[in-house]
């Protein structure tokens, strides 16, 4: 798993790539926690995300709960395989998602 962060004013984009499994999730969580403190808009770019297990989903849920009070959060460039996991878990109903990407 790799994480790339860019900031444009109050908007923070976290680009997460590779595999977010149980072993990688704490690093993902730490990155999100660190960025979320002053973000009003959080964008998680999943264009290069290959895999996410429930450990990664927990981080997304936690982030959404935190951002609900403070601003906006969305997932972008979500591909089919990851989208299906989000649908099965009902996450597609509670997170803002933009599908597609290259």
């Amino acid at each position: 798993m790799n994480i790339k962060i860019s900031k444009i004013e109050k908007k923070t984009i976290i680009e997460v790539s590779g595999r977010v499994d149980t072993v990688a999730a704490p690093k993902f969580e730490a990155a999100v926690k660190e960025q979320i403190t002053d973000a009003e808009e959080l964008v998680i770019d999943m264009d290069k995300l290959e895999y996410i297990s429930s450990a990664g989903l927990r981080v997304l849920l936690w982030a959404q709960k935190t951002m609900t009070d403070r601003g906006d959060m969305k997932l972008i460039n979500v591909h089919e395989n990851v989208m299906e996991i989000l649908e099965i878990t009902g996450f597609s109903e509670i997170l803002k998602i933009k599908q597609g990407g290259s």
Partner: protein
Amino acid sequence: MAENKFRLVLAAVTENLQQVISFIEESIQNTDHSPKTVIQITIAVEEIFVNIAHYAYPEKNGEVVIEAVVSDDPPAIAITFIDSGIPYDPLAKADPDITLSANKRQIGGLGIYLVKKTMDDVSYKYEDGHNILTIKKLLS
């Protein structure tokens, strides 16, 4: 009907997750399957293995035996996890309410739910001091 059997014994610690995933990938490498099927199997295996690693052996180190049986008629894989930790039936837990809003959703309980939803069959038994959990997935 041909069957290929694979077996892995290793310590029940999350550090071994990648080894478990590689073992499963090797087990099905000569079969036809979609990337989606692999992701679903991988997630199920991760959720179960990590569950065992976290909860089966609270005060000691223990092992997990993982057996994979790959059959060709119909193409399918059955994966059995055997541990000798505390008795625990993950299937007995109620499913999370996935219709709740983010603020009301519980953080936990998602893993085994994913397993139930993506696998074609999941069964558990406790026998001779062992937790025995089997998942089956048709390969397509």
